[in-house]
Assembly symmetry: C2
Homo-oligomer: 559 residues x 2
């Protein structure tokens, strides 16, 4: 490819809102342009990177027997409604009504359509497992798009789905995908940590995220030396005992100044550690129901754990107005007695004689004990694991906290979708049974951003060979003779099947060409100049040293 | 690929609404399934056919220097509004409003977005011409989906766009695409006739359709021995002179029975040929304005020609209620005097002393002459060319009529989009000038349907090699020894890089396997049975004769 003819040139300035290196560099080097917030156009260079990533993933899917196909983007809304996914996704799901009044969900994910597809061929046990994948646009009306391709509202996704006869067979396909994801990350030269995670709006209750550790990531993961690793939404930890052996004293209402409302106020007033207090946090479901989460004062509520427990895709913090409807206000919420659902954390049993729980204008309660003085609808794991907490798996080591970004996600749904949609197979005993289903996703745009984020230096991108849009960046220096020689080198390399980007621009300085080459980040830079004579200067983008090679020697390097 | 593992099996029954062979066979052979009306899921087999077609088109695009990229599906609505395309497309264009209130058009075509993309890199004359293409889903809320993949509401399209410095440079890219389309059709083994056509809702005024002649097509084309060929929406023809030399008689109101309302009534009552009467047809624009088209009685109004002339994407026939608003009713419309826009066909000047034009309850007018007794806002080509009409190009030969289906379409827009959207380049003289633009589309699903429609027999599909999902269909007959041998042949062929579909099913009769092979339509059928010994029976799907070959001989056939 001649750089002079390439659509999409380098620019010096970065987008004003760009904070990530990948976002800045992909823009500056001319790989992407934003059409509207979170919706990106890929230039020919960007498209080639995307295709290279797709190729790697497609090959790994083929290796585990997945068959590629494609389904439409507009899904009949009733398919989403069968599992109430339209409600759970809420505004994140775009909808369209056509001219005949038919309603569609614009594909945010494709579980329901794949189930429908499989139903149409009503499989027998002989056909199982069925493993399918596609690369197609996904549409998610994210509240906040961010980081360029990291969180986009429209993006290409590899989504795979497996359908098996029973849980064991499903798990086999699940681990196939799991290991394929490890191989894909390896081929993309990115390091991933698989962690147990929450499946959120997609349904199901067993899943892993593949997290790339990085300080700008939106995910928080906890890892233990024992091998356990989980997203903070899921991470299990041991509630250390505070004083549960202590004798329970009688519940007492005590005088307390009105200003004591926050946890810090309490600590100051009583001079006791946070763990001795009750903390009540109020949330609202999308139907408007209030949920009061009660946790030990040193812990925080994890909204994902709580949402999952109460069967919601998303909870929002209650407002002062919401609190007024149950006769209270911020800082004054009671651990019992309000007209709301009470959900308690298991930490409530680790303390004897809690302070608080029923703050009034001049009083509060002390010596509050769970089970005796108040109970919740249920006690469960709704608190967030913190750095240093004891691992819930081994029960011995302390958890470590890291930030990261999700590269991929694998879900085990069992019959969550197939039962709701009546998707069965005929088993060898002649009986109809529900298919057991899993789903497996990788966002291609995000993968591209992650590779860019983990492969750059101060001068630009440094693509790994497997995803680079071209293998070599050939620079021709000024001068008629040199230009002719560079063109000949370009022709030789191209004939040999090497994908070369040839900066053939006239009237552009060597300095600009060199800095553009660094910015674009192709694995190898080649220079033909008056100084190189009949040879070519070869330089690996990631290294400093150069070598003078004949074209024949050059060809060997690309083998 | 093992047929036993292939997702998507053959079935005997066809969809109830299927009328076309391609629709029936693609369904029965398991290439497609409809998710909702006009929205299709492709099975792994169907997907492979689609990919093969995409590959051919992509290669031909690369040959003419087109660069592949991709743009989002949700287009900011204001980009469509810049050229009023949202109004012209009307309900055919799906729209979405996101959670922040931003409005989007769901990509029905991508002219405006490509203009926006080019603007972001503000090209100089050195960068021109810019030729870009993508393969992406298009969404069109068609009033009637039909024929399986022939007219779908969602489909993959190759859409290409060229941007050039001036009309001559634009035409060079236009003809590049034109010739690429001819090569693509040739490689897909389909016969196309390029015809001049109307650009409809897409804008511009010069375009060609590539029509595949067939009796089930929705397009009507007219061709002349002189080489002229055009869609009926555009076809120019000579208005034969009826009696224009005849002396004009005085306009006269004559008694006429009330029952004389239709053209047939007139012919019966006056015993004169249709050409001697005036015909007035009323349409309504999408803003509700009434347009009365006046043509010679033997001709019909062509709605596309008329719509184009009045600057509308679409006209609808006026209803009796509409006619009431201008004080008339069906069959009683006057050729002048109503509160409506009057547009006349050029045929109005070929007749002296028209009959009709002002029908009242007991009277009508005779000896009506255009220019003397009535005039229209304009006289133009708004009548439909009929078989036998004299070609408007050569003026000598008669036009022939054929039905056909559109395979591709090339448009020359000039600065229609770029001017409205302010898309300029810096010319060598330093001045900013509007880019001259063209656009070029091929629907992949329809191409697949056309290939299927033109490549089948009574038993099933007969794919041309270039698009077949697999090159060979290997059938193993019952028996342990034969099964082992067939598996060995499969392994040998697969190792040699030949794409083989191996029907390895057990407990399925030879008859079923043979008929499935015919239905699927792979180019070559191979059979291993007790009768073939160490050899393999080779049969071309399109031919009757078979040959017994060793595996080595077989490999040679696939070279």
């Amino acid at each position: 490819m001649l750089y002079s003819k390439l659509f999409g040139k380098t620019v010096r300035e970065a987008p004003k809102d760009a904070t990530l290196a990948s976002h800045k560099l992909l823009y500056q080097a001319g790989y992407i342009r934003e059409l509207s917030s979170g919706r990106y156009m890929l230039t020919p260079l960007g498209f080639r990177v995307e295709q290279n990533i797709i190729k790697i993933i497609d090959e790994e899917m083929a290796k585990i027997g997945s068959q590629r196909l494609v389904v439409p983007t507009f899904h009949p809304l009733e398919l989403w409604q069968a599992t109430h996914r339209d409600e759970v996704w809420g505004e994140g799901l775009s909808q369209v009504t056509d001219r005949r009044g038919a309603r569609f969900a614009v594909g945010a994910t494709a579980e329901a359509v794949m189930v429908e597809f499989v139903k149409k061929f009503h499989p027998s046990w002989r056909d199982l497992p069925i493993v399918l994948h596609q690369f197609s646009n996904k549409f998610r009306d994210e509240l906040r798009a961010r980081g360029g391709l990291v969180r986009a509202r429209e993006f290409v996704m590899k989504d795979a789905y497996s359908f098996a006869a029973d849980e064991q067979a499903l798990l086999a396909t699940y681990w196939d995908q799991f290991h394929a994801y490890e191989r894909i990350a390896h081929r993309l030269d990115i390091k991933v940590i698989p962690v147990e995670a929450d499946s959120g709006a997609l349904g199901g209750d067993f899943c892993h995220e593949f997290i790339v550790p990085c300080d700008w990531g939106e995910d928080t993961i906890l890892t233990c030396e024992c091998g356990y690793s989980a997203n903070v939404e899921k991470a299990e930890f041991v509630r250390d005992d505070i004083n549960s052996g202590e004798a329970q004293k009688p519940l007492e209402a005590v005088a307390q100044p009105e200003w004591v409302a926050t946890m810090d106020d309490n600590v100051k007033h009583y001079n006791l550690p946070k763990a001795r207090f009750l903390k009540n946090v109020v949330y609202k479901t999308h139907q408007g129901q209030l949920v009061i989460a009660v946790v030990r004062g040193d812990l925080d509520v994890n909204e994902s754990k709580l949402a999952k427990l109460v069967g919601e895709g998303e909870l929002v913090p209650a407002t002062a107005d919401d609190l007024r409807t149950i006769g209270t206000k911020p800082g004054w919420v009671h651990a019992w007695g309000h007209a709301a659902r009470y959900i308690g954390d298991t930490s409530l049993t680790t303390v004897s004689n809690f302070i608080g729980g029923h703050k009034e204008q001049t009083t509060d309660t002390i010596n509050v004990n769970y089970g005796r003085d108040f109970t919740c609808e249920t006690l469960a794991d709704i608190a967030e694991a913190q750095a240093g907490a004891v691992c819930g798996k081994c029960g011995r080591k302390q958890l470590r906290v890291q930030k990261g970004v999700e590269f991929g996600h694998v879900f085990k749904y069992d019959d969550f979708y197939t039962k709701a949609m009546g998707c069965t197979f005929t088993d060898s005993d002649g009986k109809e049974k529900y298919l057991q289903m899993g789903a497996y996703g990788i966002g291609i745009g995000r993968a591209m951003a992650i590779v860019a984020e983990t492969h750059h230096d101060a001068y630009g991108l440094v693509w790994p060979q497997a995803v680079a849009p071209y293998q070599a960046h050939l620079i021709g220096m000024p001068g008629a003779e040199v230009t002719k020689q560079a063109a000949a080198v370009y022709a030789r390399l191209t004939e040999a099947g090497i994908e070369v980007l040839f900066d053939d621009r006239e009237g552009v300085s060597a300095g600009v060409k060199f800095s553009d080459a660094d910015l674009l980040g192709l694995p190898v830079r080649l220079v033909v100049s008056a100084k190189t004579g009949a040879k070519v200067e070869y330089k690996n983008r990631a290294q400093e040293q150069t070598a003078l090679l004949t074209v024949d020697e050059l060809l060997v390097r690309f083998k």
